[in-house]
Symmetry: C2
């Protein structure tokens, strides 16, 4: 059996998230259907980020799957793209060692969250950036962001459901390591770049919601350490919309 790794781009607005759900179009369903049609045998994939929400985009989602087929990689890429809906594309297909697993082999992931910060909306960024019409104190946001880099228990920044689910299984850890969050400003567009060894459910969106509250002056940068310490979702900010979020790259 060959182990094949695909890198995918997709428009999250076209799907109800990544993971299969009965009766709803998802990335996993579209991809497994296309792969199974191309190879003429059932294909199951594993994904680097298999739990991404409805609306989250990807420039570099990674999946792998096994097949006995000897088809050339370039034919696989071209053929699977022909079976996929236009909102997904296979950007590359390579053969990887048998023990490669898109999720468990990942060393780190990069997400970007885009904020359009202007009193007025930007129609050409609709669905690709979250519109924040309020003045933001970027210096305070950068200060707050510095408290989040490094190794922390990020339980305060995931959903309560994820924590409850974790409690039933002793092995679950909420500790993750984040690199310094990079914030780029190009006119009204703010791009927040997160790189870490892993991300909890809703983690980027909850961190972003909290940073935006700091930017609006509703919280202080110095509040972040106590939010982390609290280990409770009650202490962090809002979950902001998924449209501004893109999975950029997975490192192995």
């Amino acid at each position: 059996m060959r182990n094949i790794k695909l890198v995918l781009e997709y428009d999250g607005a076209a799907f109800f998230g990544f993971q299969r759900q009965p009766g709803k179009p998802t990335v996993q369903e579209a991809l497994e259907k296309a792969l199974s049609a191309f190879f003429d045998h059932p294909v199951k994939i594993s994904a680097a980020s298999g739990r991404t929400d409805t609306g989250v985009h990807a420039e570099g989602q990674v999946v792998n799957f096994r097949t006995g087929s000897g088809r050339e990689l370039s034919h696989i890429q071209r053929g699977v793209n022909a079976y996929l809906p236009s909102a997904i594309v296979v950007k590359s297909a390579v053969e990887v060692p048998a023990d490669f697993h898109a999720r468990y082999s990942a060393r780190s992931k990069v997400y970007e969250y885009r904020v359009w910060n202007s009193p007025f909306r930007a129609p050409l960024l609709a669905g690709r950036a979250y519109h924040v019409p309020f003045r933001l104190d970027l210096a305070a946001m950068r200060k707050a962001a510095r408290h989040l880099s490094g190794r922390h228990d990020f339980r305060s920044f995931t959903s309560e459901a994820a924590v409850l689910k974790g409690r039933s299984s002793r092995k679950v850890s909420f500790t993750r390591t984040l690199r310094p969050i990079r914030i780029k400003k190009e006119n009204g567009l703010l791009v927040f770049r997160f790189e870490g060894d892993g991300f909890l459910y809703h983690m980027v969106r909850n961190i972003m919601g909290t940073l935006l509250e700091v930017g609006r002056g509703k919280r202080q940068p110095s509040d972040i350490p106590s939010i982390l310490k609290a280990k409770s979702r009650c202490f962090s900010g809002q979950t902001i919309p998924s449209c501004g979020l893109t999975l950029i790259k997975v490192f192995y």
Copy 2:
């Protein structure tokens, strides 16, 4: 009466072009409706590029209109934006001299045409760039583009209907002056920047169609002078889709 100039951004996919048409949503209709509702009197606008097609986007379309209202400019901008559909926004509102006319006062306009050049589609550029899956000879395209800058009769690059319409009115000129066409390449994305004192109907799309045929080797850069000389639509390339086209800026 005050003369007010607005700069607009809009997503062309949401409208059947700029100009009013019975029974179809157009930018002009949406804008005049919003202005009339805000001012509580009928408002008619003049636009810098009032004939742009269905699907053409704008980052900097300019219109002007007259009103007797004394409302502050910042209130006008905010209020009109509240009445507009989300696919349009007023980016700025300023008061201009009585003789300012969005179309006739324009000195030059800038359009950009975006091409995604890769064997595979880019879902995150869908509706914002035209996908060309063939290998393009960029050097040949640049050479061809150089023949188009300067003052020329561009009749070969407008629609036959526009030429026929022009014939019935003696005053119509097909002569325009183009600055050197700038071509930028960022990975697979090619951005063609056109600046000129005016553009004929379909001119950018027909020039782009011709340049792409040069890029594919179907025409030579040296064919351009004879296409210009022919003064007939039969000699130029295909009209390529409007989704890649954006009106960037109007200079006065």
